[in-house]
């Protein structure tokens, strides 16, 4: 018995140092700190509202009553994290996906236009970059337009795009995707121009000694060399593609989607619903970036990146 019991105190002696050895420790500390700040902020933000409500009702409220009210109100100024989690649980797990209250349904609607927009945008970005790299005059003539396209507030241009496309009979998921694509082609173009011109002089001279065609140089040198740049751009692009899809749902009176959910929440002062939709969007964005990162690792490994 004693022999078995001996290692135990040793393991318990440095549990903290063990936790902090990995990434789990720092991550947990940051999460806990954020939660603590959030709770304090929720109490402060909601305090006067709750206190006034008690006062209006003529109910004598203790400190504890008000405190509980700040963290459990139906329409708080700033909902507490557990309220958002409860709302997420309710709308994701407890609600059937066919219901209009299901966040999974809304998430899917936004995700589908995000992915379509991402595909269109990434492809457009790559094609533009290839064109710019091969036709020098395009660099001067096209680049200013590409850059200025991103200075236009998307909120201003989104309704225009929806209306114009709607007037020529294009409705549904495509207009939203085009707004996504409008935002996300940009980092892909910039990254790919950099990537396609990344091969050094020797690597390019080598192709010249083979009298390689422009197409061969593109496929066998420029494109493979640009893959790391492409993935760095795609990570940015997929996240802003989601932003684009959500923004596209705001001014168009969309019936479904995370943007529609945000809008509905703000109409009716359902702050918890707004925050739940925001969380869903953040989780979706993180998942999309993680998927791109995973594909990146697989592709770069197949291309001989150092492990």
């Amino acid at each position: 018995m004693t022999a078995e019991a001996l290692p135990a105190p040793r393991a318990a002696a440095r549990p903290l140092s063990r936790i902090f050895a990995g990434a789990a420790g720092p991550v947990a500390v940051v999460v806990l700190a954020l939660l603590a700040v959030w709770y304090v902020a929720a109490v402060l933000a909601n305090w006067s509202l709750v206190a006034e409500a008690f006062a209006r009702g003529g109910i004598p409220a203790t400190f504890g009553d008000v405190l509980a009210g700040t963290l459990g109100g139906e329409r708080p100024v700033l909902p507490a994290p557990h309220q958002i989690l409860a709302e997420l649980w309710k709308t994701v797990v407890d609600t059937p996906v066919t219901s209009r209250r299901s966040l999974v349904l809304h998430g899917w609607v936004t995700l589908s236009s995000t992915l379509l927009g991402f595909a269109i945008g990434a492809l457009t970005g790559i094609v533009l970059a290839v064109a710019i790299v091969h036709l020098r005059m395009l660099e001067k003539s096209l680049m200013p337009w590409i850059i200025s396209s991103q200075t236009v507030p998307i909120l201003a241009i989104a309704p225009i795009i929806i209306v114009v496309l709607g007037s020529i009979g294009i409705r549904g998921v495509l207009p939203k995707s085009i707004i996504s694509a409008y935002l996300c082609f940009f980092p892909v173009t910039i990254g790919m121009v950099k990537g396609l011109t990344s091969p050094d002089v020797l690597q390019r001279d080598l192709m010249r000694t083979y009298s390689a065609s422009v197409a061969d140089t593109l496929w066998k040198l420029r494109l493979p060399a640009s893959v790391p740049y492409l993935f760095a751009s795609l990570k940015v692009a997929v996240a802003i593609s989601l932003v684009g899809a959500i923004v596209a749902e705001l001014p168009t009176g969309a019936q479904a989607g995370l943007g529609a959910r945000l809008l509905a929440g703000s109409y009716y002062g359902q702050t918890i619903q707004i925050w739940a939709a925001l969380f869903a969007a953040a989780i979706l964005a993180a998942a999309l970036v993680a998927v791109v990162g995973m594909v990146e690792r697989l592709v770069l490994r197949a291309m001989g990146a150092r492990r």
Binding site: L202, M207, T209, Y210, K220, P224, G304
Partner: protein
């Protein structure tokens, strides 16, 4: 496109038979830079016969690399006459007459060693089976058997440069242009590769143009040494290096070797004297 035939069958070309591979007369190249013209090559005359191993030696900036790049059609001369295998450098390049080995291996990091060697063969449109067969043959020739599936970073610098030599030989060009291929390697690896290169040259019978700034390397490898001087780049001496073709590293201690090395050094010094 000359891709027929394979390594080891070049017995005919192992001895010079008088065919002019390089014919240069009055060649000049002036770069226009913001600081005024730079005279990279000035009035260069040179002929090289088939099967020779010619070294270009000189201090940095003497135009030896530029001369090699002109022959490879990587630079355009501003004046003079140049013929490579009887045609203009551009035609020779389009005909894929030469393989070029750069100062650094310039392997594509996303390709395995085998795929790097197959790169020119893919571009020339050879069938897959033949590409693989040639890659195998030439990697064996440079003693890299067993490394086909490795990526470049998994090999040492010397092995990478050997892979790049296999790549240059893989399409059996008539001419091998080498621009300080062993310059970045340490002395021991360099000696070893020099021996291997000499053996390779004996086996394939290619005409080799070899840029270096090492006197022992030039004397050890060459049948002819072209001594160049800088500003403007010009040829100040062409030294025949008539040591026996079968050479081992020991030859560097012999009086004949030292006499040639001495003459090369004298030439280099003469080229430098105006800078005193």
């Amino acid at each position: 496109m000359r891709i027929e035939g394979s390594a080891g069958t070049g017995g005919m070309a192992a001895t010079s038979n008088g065919v002019q591979v390089i014919d240069i007369a009055g060649l000049t190249l002036t770069f226009d830079t913001a600081d005024g013209p730079v005279y990279a090559l000035s009035n260069v005359d040179l002929t090289i016969s088939e099967g020779e191993f010619v070294s270009f030696i000189g201090p940095s900036g003497c135009g030896k690399t530029t001369l090699l790049r002109v022959i490879a059609d990587l630079e355009r001369p501003t004046g003079g006459h140049i013929r490579v295998n009887g045609v203009s450098p551009e035609e020779a390049r389009l005909r894929r007459d030469y393989g070029y080995v750069f100062q650094s291996p310039a392997l594509y990091p996303w390709r395995t060693i085998e795929k790097n060697v197959m790169l020119p063969l893919e571009i020339f449109g050879l069938p897959k089976a033949e590409r693989r067969e040639r890659a195998r043959t030439f990697l064996e020739l440079v003693n890299l058997k067993g490394f086909e599936r490795k990526f470049p970073w998994q090999l040492s610098g010397g092995m990478q440069q050997r892979a790049s030599i296999a790549r240059a030989l893989s399409f059996d060009p008539r001419l091998l242009l080498m621009d300080e291929p062993f310059g970045a390697l340490d002395e021991i690896v360099r000696d070893h590769l020099n021996e291997q290169l000499l053996r390779l040259w004996g086996k394939t019978g290619k005409t080799v143009l070899f840029v270096t700034h090492s006197i022992p390397e030039a004397v050890f490898l060459s049948t002819k040494i072209v001594v160049m001087s800088p500003r403007p780049g010009r040829i100040i001496d062409v030294i025949d290096c008539d040591l026996p073709r079968e050479r081992t590293l020991d030859i560097r201690e012999t009086p004949a070797f030292l006499a040639i090395a001495h003459r090369v050094r004298d030439g280099l010094r003469a080229g430098h004297s105006y800078e005193d």
